[in-house]
């Protein structure tokens, strides 16, 4: 699911216009814009005037100029594209349907048509469209209710209130004295620290959970099956005791499913800090599906990069992130694509190379085969978890890459020395994990490039020396890369 699925086609186009303008420094010709959108000029004109009406509310803070030739955008400094998205989302009928459903848990068609001031047929159409996107979450709107596995429903609302609806307003609308008390108690009972950022996430989750806790007839067949492997999990047990004790203070009946839902959430999203998670990792059964997948993937990564082993803290960090990824794959379905997937993949490829991306795909294939029966490139959850694998791999390679210091010490006339030196630096810079500069006798280098045999090695301390055969030749470049690789080991 994507954010734009909450908008109408023309609204998506309008947002694309903003996007294009921002990407192109604020101005773009009609021709280029038409090319990008693939629409007729008349329809572009239409979109532009619709935008003009919409941004009226911003009181001159956003201005759009267009004259049939070029389109220009100017925005005041305190306004961002985010706020413009917000403007569109706030008017979205689909968004209002979801928030209404969350607030009331149930609706009648007349109630909703009146509230949204739309016709019955267009309400049905919107619900149908929403359902086509909710499908990947395994849930649907039917008979005026959100239907599906309870964990999935709460998970969807959670993503929705984190990324689609304005979460600041959501948090402000829900007085949270009791939640603060609940989270404080949780911190004490689980003996963990909940950082402010994680606290916000947890607060949103608990608002959603507590609003749904009294609903009767929750579906949890899938979750119960998944939880079979975790019946004896020490963290699950703690959560269960906490949930029972907390709700025993109210006239609310909770079953096991309530604790199961919180267990899945707390391990799938960063709520615990790494040190707290580590405590759990030491206690958990290593043969459970998520834990054994963590180990398998961690080993695969270490083997792939031919590291003998990772530094202790880096390995812990990796395990922390892997558990999040694998818990999501194990328990959850669907996701909201908050990042432009294709764009990021393309960019990642440029930065980290095709290898990392395809290796990440291999990892995903391995983990989904065992953890999840979800397939298909279009599943947003898989896309988002792939991005997470990639980020993790990048993080590891960055952390593992030691930087090799290269000094260039050319023995030739001043001007040549300068320019050829600069050119060499330029050529060597893109190589990963090296720092290249003009030789400075006061510094220590791993490798010194020169064009004459040095009179005495002593001059360069322990640095390896390579004598260039022909400056800037590909022959030299290949040799230099080989040496760097050797030094890197």
């Amino acid at each position: 699911m994507k954010i734009e699925h909450f908008l109408e086609k023309n609204e998506v186009r309008e947002i694309t216009i903003f996007n294009q303008l921002v990407l192109n420094g604020g101005t773009l010709s009609y021709g280029k814009m038409l090319n990008h959108l693939g629409v007729s000029k008349a329809s572009l004109e239409n979109d532009l005037s619709s935008i003009a009406v919409r941004i009226d509310g911003f009181d001159q803070k956003v201005q759009l100029q267009y004259d049939g030739q070029t389109i220009g955008l100017s925005m005041s400094d305190d306004l961002s594209l985010q706020q413009i998205y917000r403007l569109y989302l706030d008017q979205s009928i689909k968004l209002q349907i979801i928030t209404f459903l969350f607030k009331h848990q149930e609706f009648s068609i007349t109630q909703l048509t009146q509230k949204l001031a739309i016709s019955e047929s267009s309400l049905f159409r919107k619900i149908k469209e929403l359902n086509s996107h909710l499908k990947e979450f395994g849930i649907k709107i039917r008979n005026g209710q959100m239907q599906g596995e309870e964990l999935q429903i709460r998970y969807f609302y959670f993503q929705f209130y984190c990324y689609i609806e304005d979460k600041t307003t959501f948090l402000a609308e829900h007085p949270n004295d009791r939640l603060t008390q609940m989270i404080d108690a949780m911190e004490k009972f689980l003996n963990v620290t909940i950082t402010p950022e994680n606290r916000e996430r947890l607060t949103i989750w608990l608002i959603i959970s507590n609003a749904r806790v009294t609903i009767i007839d929750k579906q949890a067949k899938r979750l119960r099956t998944q939880m079979k492997a975790y019946r004896k999990d020490p963290f699950f047990h703690k959560i269960q005791v906490f949930v029972l004790r907390y709700f025993s203070r109210y006239s609310i009946e909770v079953d096991e499913v309530e604790s199961m839902i919180h267990f899945a959430f707390l391990l799938a999203f960063p709520v615990l800090t790494e040190p707290d998670f580590h405590e759990y990792r030491l206690l958990r059964d290593r043969h459970t599906p998520i834990a054994s997948m963590d180990t398998l993937i961690a080993e695969t990564i270490i083997n792939h990069f031919k590291y003998r082993r990772l530094p202790y803290m880096l390995e812990r960090d990796m395990s922390y992130h892997l558990t999040h990824i694998h818990t999501r794959l194990y328990f959850f379905q669907g996701d909201i694509e908050i990042y432009e997937y294709e764009g990021i993949i393309a960019k990642e490829k440029q930065i980290v190379g095709t290898n990392v991306v395809s290796f990440a795909r291999t990892l995903l294939k391995t983990s989904t085969k065992t953890l999840a029966d979800k397939t298909g490139e279009n599943n947003s959850l898989l896309k988002m978890e792939l991005l997470k694998y990639i980020s993790l791999l990048v993080l590891i390679t960055f952390k593992m890459a030691s930087v090799i210091q290269v000094g260039i010490d050319l023995k030739m006339d001043g001007l040549y020395k300068e320019t050829l030196g600069e050119l060499l630096i330029l050529k060597l810079k893109p190589i990963k994990g090296v720092k290249v500069e003009h030789y400075d006798p006061t510094k220590i280098y791993d490798l010194v490039l020169t064009n004459e045999e040095p009179k005495a090695q002593a001059n360069y301390d322990d640095a390896r020396i390579y004598i260039l055969s022909e400056i800037l030749s590909s022959f030299d470049m290949v040799n230099i890369q080989r040496i760097i690789q050797e030094l890197n080991k």
């Binding site: 806790v213 009767i216 269960q240 109210y250 006239s251 009946e253 079953d255």
Partner: protein, 444 residues
């Protein structure tokens, strides 16, 4: 002034008497769904314990007492709708619908024992016995059942387990928490009880949650747990009670847990409408609002609401959740905050456990006491007791100490009588450190 009260149980009846006391001229009308009056919810336990020989003896009020005070009551009258705008109540009596207007309304419709999460819990073999007719049915069913499964290890469940084992029934008790009576006692205090339960042959299933109950063809019932299942002849629901208020209109605000929101004067969000007893939350031991369905609270809230009918004059002081009972050969009592529950307060809490002798005589019984107090101020916040002797009344002393915010040091100075046959050098509830007999002596 016409005062209508929905529900003629502890809260409703207490309110009615107090209204009469304050307003001699008021017209007081009780509407009660059931066809009988004043049944005590633990009547069946009294019967099994042979304290009464007929369930009908378990009554806390009679029709005559109401008549004498000029309180009108309608039995078999089920309220269907409350219209707070027009101040009209619609109710059914003997299949006829009737209406009634009110000047003041007190909602005392209480709670029921029902699970909405356990599928199959509404069938006949699943016994509840808070009401008289339910208790009658349960009495017969239990008599003919050899093996009974009890769901819930709270006060009701553990009392029932005790009485039924004494009647030589085979008992399985299912509790989702790690230990029984967890709302009232800390785990370190409960061990002797659990030990006795196991010795008496109770099949204890801790950390197990019932997901469904299924009827078997041979009159048996199967209770499905997270892991495994139990098949027996009857099932007793010892789960928490909850309000059931389908007759409210939208103007009366409710909390998420379906209780009616009230202020300190027990006024609801609508003028002239009050709510009391098991259908509200109270300020509990930690001073935040919690649900404490107990008879004492029902009675006290009933009285306070009556006092505030015309003008807000008396605030409700809250509840310490004081309880006392005898189970598996031990008298147990608790008041205020437990150590486990102190999780929900921002105070730092400490506890002290001691075992003291009750009299100065050689054959004196002992009592194990646990005090929970504020680490900084030493204010007493909670107390628990367990003994072979009947020490139940002593919990009220400590409840009063908590209510009047006494510190541990104050407690040492409380004035009690001395008589060697009934007390010892230091009174039981005078907390003095050197009076400890080793508290953990016989517990392991």
């Amino acid at each position: 002034m016409r005062v209508v009260i929905i529900g003629a149980s502890f809260a409703g009846v207490a309110a009615a008497f107090e209204v009469r006391h304050i307003h001699p001229d008021a017209e007081i009308l009780l509407l009660e769904k059931q066809d009988n009056l004043g049944y005590i919810p633990s009547g069946l336990h009294l019967y099994w314990d042979k304290k009464i020989s007929d369930l009908d003896e378990a009554r806390f009020v009679t029709e005559g007492q109401l008549d004498k005070h000029g309180i009108v009551y309608h039995l078999n009258a089920t309220v269907q709708k409350v219209n707070t705008t027009q101040k009209i109540i619609t109710y059914d009596q003997h299949d006829l619908s009737d209406q009634l207007s009110y000047d003041k309304l007190i909602i005392a419709a209480g709670s029921r024992q029902l699970s909405e999460k356990i599928t199959g819990s509404a069938q006949e073999s699943v016994l509840k016995y808070k009401r008289y007719d339910e208790a009658q049915a349960a009495l017969i069913k239990v008599e003919e059942s050899e093996h009974i499964t009890i769901i819930g290890g709270g006060q009701v469940g553990v009392e029932a387990a005790d009485l039924l084992t004494a009647m030589e029934k085979q008992v399985t008790l299912v509790e989702s928490m790690d230990y029984v009576l967890f709302k009232y006692l800390d785990e370190d205090m409960i061990k002797p009880i659990e030990k006795n339960m196991i010795e008496k042959g109770v099949d204890l299933r801790m950390r197990q949650t019932v997901s469904s109950i299924e009827m078997e063809p041979d009159q048996k019932v199967t209770v499905c747990l997270g892991e495994g299942s139990v098949t027996s002849y009857a099932v007793i629901m010892g789960v928490n009670v909850r309000p059931h208020l389908p007759f409210l209109d939208e103007t009366i605000k409710q909390h998420t847990d379906q209780t009616i929101a009230v202020d300190r004067y027990l006024r609801t969000s609508v003028e002239d409408v009050f709510a009391v007893g098991d259908c509200i939350q109270l300020s509990g031991p930690g001073e935040d609002r919690v649900y404490v369905p107990l008879i004492n609270n029902a009675v006290r809230t009933g009285i306070v609401a009556a006092a505030n009918l015309i003008e807000p004059s008396r605030t409700f002081k809250g509840s310490l959740r004081t309880i006392g009972t005898r189970v598996f050969g031990k008298y147990i009592a608790s008041t205020g905050m437990t150590e486990a529950e102190s999780l929900f307060t921002d105070r730092t809490v400490e506890s002290h456990r001691q075992k003291v002798r009750l009299t100065s005589l050689a054959d004196s019984d002992t009592v194990t006491l646990k005090y929970v107090y504020d680490a900084k101020t030493h204010e007493l916040l909670g107390a628990q007791m367990i003994s072979n002797a009947n020490i139940l009344e002593k919990i009220n002393v400590l409840a009063l100490a908590i209510q009047s915010k006494q510190t541990l040091e104050d407690l040492q100075q409380t004035d009690y009588f001395f008589n060697p046959a009934y007390s010892q050098m230091i009174a039981t509830t005078n907390l003095i450190a050197w009076m400890d007999e080793r508290a953990d002596e016989d517990e392991n």
